[in-house]
């Protein structure tokens, strides 16, 4: 392996990986339209774009997962035809997948050598495999326990295994697909350092993201995609976050401090949002409800709940949310946030503790009872808990109260009422759908989410529980949903926001509760706490800021 790297240094190609005029159709959709990118040795190329902009299609073409309809792929100065990822791997292109391609119960060493095992008489030469993995880990500073089962490792370590897997196959190009999506800010910084270290050894990196901050921090070259086309090629020195955001979305957006203030007030407005004047320190519009003496709406005391494997995931958690405030739960995914939300909403059995909502005991309540008390729930998993994909938009718009008047009478549904309600939701919440009879599955992610928000908001609610309310949707829809959540807060609804995106928590919350290993380890003021402080708390450092 050392020898091959020496060779890399001597015969360094001019272009490590490039696509020239890549065009790719899926049915009538043009995913990539004449896209050209070029990666040179020792550089980090950031591919920036919204969901559906064609980033993934492009790297799938470069990695041999898709065949382009037109255009050429170049690897190491040589034009190539890739018929499968195997061809790309053999030419030194490695992929760090967004969803790790690791076999959870197998050890780190076995995962790394899988498919290219050192062998002795058909058996795996474990000693040799282990030695080679340790060598690699040492050389690139990617430390990980070689004998641990992958499923027992934290996400950051799993990602290092994924990178090692590519390096074990002599990768000179690493394609990292949204590598920071699941990491804490500290893990993200560490990853960016690791990637930087790799480029020092001549490796080139294609880094796919929609996070502007990371692009500005790590990239050497930036390519912005929108609707399958390259709309900008630049470098961090020549651009700014605001300019990149505008390129990505195709219109001006207010991105100051990653906070969208509700500039537009029009209901259902899809008009361009004006750039807010440079606001030096955007603050939430209302002051903290704790000062205001508002009544407590959600009161959680000593709540415990187990995860699917029977391990305690929520551990004697205590938290209160008052009317008219947004409490954001920040935390790395997998620290019990999902179980917390499920325990409150009745989707999961709480093993101990109490939940009261609007002074009514809701411990052990079933989901419908929770709904009837006056709780709106934007669930984390749209497809699983939010909508029934094969049902129409109309049916989905009353999923939380189809059984009540005016939508049902005498055990029969009243289609006319349901349809007119659905048309209201569609108009008010800007759900783009041909008609209310279309199946929910036919909507885009952002429109599905707007439909859910519209459904949950169109009834009187005292408490809103929003779990990952903007995951995987485009900036326009994010903006819209954020504005609606703020409006609800201003009308006096208590909001519990759970999000893996620290930017989102910071942008929306009046108070930030940091969750770590099933507990709220600190509650901080988003106006004064820094990302770094919160990041440390998310990573389990109980010291530092707190209240």
């Amino acid at each position: 392996m050392a020898a091959s790297t020496a060779a890399v240094a001597e015969t360094q190609p001019e272009v490590l990986l490039a696509g020239h005029g890549i065009t790719k159709h899926f049915g009538s959709v043009v995913a990539n339209d004449d896209v050209s990118v070029e990666l040179r040795p020792g550089r980090i190329l950031a591919l920036l774009g919204e969901n559906g902009a064609g980033k993934s299609t492009l790297v799938n073409v470069l990695f041999g997962l898709h065949r382009p309809d037109a255009g050429q792929v170049v690897i190491a100065d040589e034009q190539v035809e890739l018929s499968s990822p195997h061809d790309a791997i053999a030419r030194g292109v490695g992929m760090v997948h967004q969803h790790f391609q690791l076999v959870p119960p197998m050890s780190v060493v076995r995962n790394i050598v899988l498919g290219a095992e050192p062998r002795k008489l058909g058996m795996i030469d474990v000693a040799q495999a282990r030695r080679r993995v340790l060598e690699l880990a040492d050389r690139f500073g990617l430390h990980v326990d070689p004998d641990a089962a992958v499923e027992d490792l934290p996400v950051g370590a799993q990602q290092r295994v994924e990178i090692l897997k590519a390096l074990y196959r002599d990768a000179r190009v690493l394609i990292a697909d949204e590598p920071t999506a699941v990491l804490t800010p500290q893990e993200t910084d560490h990853l960016l350092d690791v990637l930087r270290g790799l480029t020092d050894q001549g490796v080139g990196i294609v880094f796919i993201t929609h996070k502007l901050r990371e692009v500005m921090a790590a990239a050497d070259d930036i390519v912005v995609l929108r609707e399958g086309k390259v709309v900008g090629t630049t470098t961090p020195a020549e651009t700014s976050e605001a300019a990149l955001a505008e390129l990505m979305v195709g219109r001006a957006v207010d991105l100051h401090g990653d906070r969208f203030e509700s500039g537009a007030t029009g209901v259902g407005s899809a008009a361009p949002v004006e750039i807010a004047p440079d606001d030096p320190a955007p603050v939430p519009e209302t002051t903290s409800a704790e000062d205001s003496g508002q009544p407590v709406v959600l009161d959680i005391a000593g709540l415990c709940a187990d995860d699917d494997r029977g391990q305690r995931a929520v551990d004697e958690l205590t938290l209160a949310v008052r009317a008219g405030e947004i409490v954001g739960v920040a935390g790395v995914e997998g620290n019990g946030q999902r179980e917390l939300v499920e325990a409150i909403t009745g989707l999961r059995h709480a093993t101990a503790g109490n939940v009261s909502i609007s002074d009514r005991d809701a411990s052990g309540a079933r989901p419908r009872q929770v709904t009837v008390i006056g709780v709106g729930h934007i669930p984390e998993d749209r497809a699983k808990h939010g909508l029934i994909g094969s049902y129409s938009v109309a049916d989905n718009s009353v999923l939380n109260r189809y059984f009540k008047r005016p939508f049902a009478a005498g055990g029969m549904l009243r289609r006319d009422r349901i349809d007119s309600h659905a048309r209201d939701v569609v108009a008010t919440f800007d759900v783009r759908t041909p008609d209310v009879e279309s199946p929910a599955d036919s909507l885009s992610g952002g429109n599905k989410q707007k439909l859910i928000v519209g459904r949950e908001f169109s009834d009187e609610i005292d408490l809103l529980i929003a779990a990952q309310p903007t995951r995987g949707i485009d900036i326009g829809a994010i903006e819209f949903i954020w504005r609606r959540i703020r409006e609800r807060r201003d009308e006096g609804t208590a909001v519990l926001l759970v999000s893996a995106e620290l930017d989102e928590v910071l942008a929306l919350s009046d108070r930030v509760a940091v969750m770590y290993e099933g507990r709220i380890v600190a509650t901080v003021d988003p106006r004064t706490a820094t990302r770094e402080e919160i990041g440390l708390l998310m990573a389990g450092a109980a010291a530092g800021v707190g209240s």
Partner: protein
């Protein structure tokens, strides 16, 4: 020997199965489970020894019957576990047994060669394995339905072509004594004075155990059953490997069918597999999808069958035959339920999910 005594030995049998299964997990610490397993094994050995001292002939007969019943079960269980470790559920083992038993018997009867019969049985198993693979891997049919198709087809075909007048025309496979080993007390006759296919099955258990846990093939098989997408990204041809595995595993069930017709019984009768293809799946799960674990589990289930047979033969106890005949099945229900309560084992993550190449 009383019925209450039997209760004790059953538990011990369960313990030893778990012990064999956890044996490959590592030897560093002694988990409580491991302690119980070893304790169970010790109690089991003590019981067997005690009974042997009390009544050598009957104990030997029961142990022999245990090994005889276990051989068929472990062959089926190994067929099932290769499939499941690759992500394919095989509930067609019953059909594979039956069809192979039929062809093995018919070919042996017509050719006059037991060996040709075994070849025919194994080939039939391979062919049925390939059919299962073609349906569940190739055509991505629901795997339960694919297995059911095999079972129904086997039952229908073998019943239709069943020839009541046909006999094997020669003795079935006879025991071969392995020199002085066969003279060992207690286990001598049970393990070392057996017909050839039993020995073959024992060798296969050990070989397959090593291959599944240590070989490149075994690791790749685990990978395609746990996370076929990950296996594909490192260049493993998931479809191809699943095809091979399910097909070759069918050969093991085919051997089981040949064993049933040519060594265990010596003839073919309608539906002679009698649900043991399904019992093999219980054995597989109870043995934690490892061959040695499955063999331990098979011995335990085999023991209940042998005990039942022995009860019906002698008239020490006045229990109606119908109740005695229930024994293996009642014990199966109890043990599988109990095993479910204690350490449940996780299925391969991609089990039952067809894999589609993007």
């Amino acid at each position: 020997m009383t019925v209450t005594h039997d209760g004790g030995t059953h538990d011990a049998g369960a313990g030893s199965a778990a012990s064999a299964a956890s044996g490959n997990a590592g030897v560093r610490g002694w988990s409580p489970q491991r302690m119980w397993s070893v304790a169970g094994a010790v109690v089991l050995v003590a019981c067997v020894w005690g009974f042997y001292a009390w009544d050598g002939a009957q104990t030997t007969a029961v142990l022999g019957g245990t090994v005889r019943a276990a051989t068929l079960l472990v062959l089926g269980a190994m067929c099932g576990m290769i499939g499941e470790r690759s992500g394919i559920v095989n509930i067609g083992i019953e059909g594979q047994f039956l069809m192979s038993a039929f062809t093995a018997f018919t070919v042996a009867s017509m050719s006059g060669s037991l060996f040709l019969g075994v070849v025919a049985g194994v080939s039939t198993g391979l062919a049925m394995g390939w059919m299962l693979a073609a349906m569940s891997v190739g055509l991505r049919t629901d795997q339960i339905i694919a297995g059911t198709v095999l079972n129904i087809a086997a039952l229908g075909l073998t019943s239709f072509f069943y020839d009541r007048g046909r006999s094997l025309g020669q003795p079935k496979y006879q025991s071969i004594e392995l020199g002085p080993l066969a003279d060992l007390p207690v286990v001598g006759t049970a393990l070392f004075n057996r017909p050839p296919l039993t020995y073959l099955a024992l060798v296969l258990v050990v070989v397959l155990h090593v291959l599944l846990l240590r070989s490149v093939w075994g690791m790749r098989t685990t990978a395609i059953g746990e996370h076929p997408g990950a296996a594909a990204t490192v260049g493993i041809d998931v479809i191809r490997l699943r095809y091979w595995n399910v097909t070759l595993a069918g050969g093991l069930a085919g051997l089981g069918g040949a064993y049933l017709a040519l060594e265990s019984v010596g003839t073919f009768t309608r539906a002679m597999s009698g649900g043991r293809g399904f019992l093999a799946l219980a054995v597989m799960i109870f043995g934690r999808r490892t061959p040695l674990g499955a063999y331990a589990a098979a011995l335990f289930f085999g023991f209940t069958t042998a005990l039942q047979g022995q009860f019906q033969l002698n008239d020490t106890f006045d229990i109606p035959a119908q109740f005695v005949g229930m024994l293996p099945f009642v014990v199966t229900i109890i043990v599988v339920a109990a095993a479910g309560l204690f350490g449940r084992m996780r299925d391969p993550a991609a089990l039952g999910q067809p894999y589609e190449v993007r």
